[in-house]
Symmetry: C2
Subunit: 491 residues, 2 copies
Amino acid sequence: MPAMSKTSAHPLAEALRARLGAADVLTEPARIAPYMTEQRGQFPGQGRLVARPADTDEVAATVTLCRQHGATVVAQSGNTGTVGGGSPRHGDEVVLSLERMQRIRSLDADDGLLIAEAGCTLADLQEAAAAAQRFFPLSLASEAQCRIGGNLATNAGGLNVLRYGNARNLTLGLEVVLADGRVWSDLRGLRKDNSGYDLRDLFIGSEGTLGIITAAALRLLPPPRSRRVALLALPRLEPALALVRTAQAESGDAVVGAELMSAEALGMGQRLDDTPENPLPGSPWYLLLELATADPRADLDEALAAALEPAEAAGDLADALLAPTEAAAERLWRLRTAIPDGQKRAGASIKHDISVRPGYIAAFVPEALAAVTELDPAVRPCIFGHVGDGNLHFNLSQPEHAPPEAFQARAGTFHRAVHDVVRRFGGSVAAEHGVGQLKRDEVARCADPVGLELMHRIKHALDPENLLNPGKGAAAAHAASAAPPGSGAPS
Amino acid sequence: MPAMSKTSAHPLAEALRARLGAADVLTEPARIAPYMTEQRGQFPGQGRLVARPADTDEVAATVTLCRQHGATVVAQSGNTGTVGGGSPRHGDEVVLSLERMQRIRSLDADDGLLIAEAGCTLADLQEAAAAAQRFFPLSLASEAQCRIGGNLATNAGGLNVLRYGNARNLTLGLEVVLADGRVWSDLRGLRKDNSGYDLRDLFIGSEGTLGIITAAALRLLPPPRSRRVALLALPRLEPALALVRTAQAESGDAVVGAELMSAEALGMGQRLDDTPENPLPGSPWYLLLELATADPRADLDEALAAALEPAEAAGDLADALLAPTEAAAERLWRLRTAIPDGQKRAGASIKHDISVRPGYIAAFVPEALAAVTELDPAVRPCIFGHVGDGNLHFNLSQPEHAPPEAFQARAGTFHRAVHDVVRRFGGSVAAEHGVGQLKRDEVARCADPVGLELMHRIKHALDPENLLNPGKGAAAAHAASAAPPGSGAPS
């Protein structure tokens, strides 16, 4: 593999400049710095070259030139990921940024079909849909910055999964640049096609290791015409899931969000100046429910009352409040969305993005709490998440008045303790954020080895030279788990 | 490869008997005959051995013994497929029947989770769900006979796809016996898991060529509490999709079925003695709408009225009728479900299971009609299907009073003519029935060669010895298309 010099005169940079134009092949340290690490700075990368192709042909040309020059390729779009999946690791990795590919190629409101390039931000797509009286339901905290290519590469979840599914469920087709520089394209917008293996869902969630998603055909829905947001205070965790399920049935599947929050997590959000006060203090658990429907005749209040009254009568609901206006609904939501930033104010944190069968959540939480308090009784759990999907952000904040570094240094110990409980409940240690670099070793430890080996075979079949995002994701986890101790995991 | 003798004394049969018991290894011609061909008799197979394992371990042992004896394996469950995917082709193919694996391993109504073995009939699963006050939405004409293993291997569609999706969308996980006899199992019932490539969706729809599905974790939903069925008579085809989309929006996505029928197709159903008369004669197109919801307060009649009134005012709706009782609803549905059997009474038929973007249906139909009437002006088209999904059964019946064999002999010519129009519209020639043997050559001709080549690589990665269902499906289509003319496609 030719060594890449520190100047911009190395052969690959020259070749890329000849193809993409000089302005979109970056090598100056100050200009490439933002592409080298993810937002939390946890995975500082050593790459020296950023290519910013303008279209699919240029992506294909970039991949081909990298292969010819012995360089590997890390695709990056919004760079908002949390697991280090989009950061380069070595100097011979080229960051292929999709940020210039921002075209909406077509939007057909009647057909509910949006074809967009990978560099469109999620917010851009939401707005384009709304302008056509349609609705693109994917919604994430980072929606102003994240881009649809990364959303698809990580099969992003977010706040509406309960009703509309992950990014996967909103996608009808993809355009993908393969490791050999060819393009596989299915942007036909078909709703049904059983003419072969499901390549679409194989690329979705593969974290840039099987191909580079350059465009997608996405489903648009009728926009909701009514919406209700309620905050429920629960005397205990056990009835939370049944409440969600009852609300789903009573409303004809109109529950779009169901966010569980521990009192401690809600309290973390209160550390921010702009967070409203908790209007229902004193309960150990809270549930934020949002119902929405395109049906103009639906009575969501009645549906909610029908779901809550039996729980109230059974003592499973301490109190509940409904937002009477849109602004009040936003204030209730802010109780939930403030938690991640609020947690930052509480010092160092160790995070877990886990899922178990939804019905196991109530049994999982006390066991996982016991495991972490056994390690450190002063640890401050900050538990919130998507209870209807069985997906919790089982986060931990450092003990008060303790040095952050000491807590952070124990991350691996806490990860293993929480993930061991996840394993006992047959859960996943990477529910919605992907594997990237952060989860690679824990996936290697916790996931089914037969599945990992199959993923490794598929990776080898589609990218035999290990050109695309090497060392990331589950296929790399197989390599890590299969390597003999001390040999160093192959990258 | 050891030749298999015609007697039951060949070594593989003996080895299988030692493992499965003599009663479930069949070699007598009269006993194996029902497994050798599909229901229409189009793909008479030459296999000589049927193994009926009782559990996953026995499936794994059967696969291993077949491999050791140089035999290939065709998985079969209900044997109701229409494309020859479950029929053996050669004498060295062993039919592995999953019909004895009929256990429901668990059913959790609160969690909406059913874990069932591949040999359960679809009707059994529907009934088990109903007994637990839950609903399993997959619904097909053959539901009393078809088994969930085959439904998943073919990603079955059916009558409810518009609202609930294909078999794929109702599946949370699988247990699969691999080509090397290992078992990959994910029956954890997780709603969210981004810890690796999407193996589940790769196996679903792979027609037994990548692994043998032995069990599945399936989603259960709240049962519908109200239901409305309406027949709409349309003066022309163009407004059909907009009517469906408006009904979806007005009802809060409660349209579970939207079946388009040409007057000719509806007339075919009238050939059966038990079919009710068409209550709205005289229109060229009909739409059967079913709305259903779990919301006890929903007013489906109002939603339907809101969807139909603008169409009526615009002259896009000739007439409409609502079924006032369950029995009346069944009679309206019978107009649609009678079509396939009615078409049999009209002599030889040539069928196409195609999809295009839903918005292209109205333009596709006249072009495809022109293509077939150019070949034979006396051909009788019988067009019906799932218009909201863009999936039509574009079937043709022979000219009246003509010899059936002469028409059947032209099947390839008609297939190519219809599929050429499908290609022009960017559609699929195998929308919901799979590829099997029937569609292999047309998929080879019409599908994207890059995609076929990727499928072939995946097949080779997971089944390097081509042990599982050789010669079927899209990966085999690649082999067929890649073979030089006259060389014979590799099996």
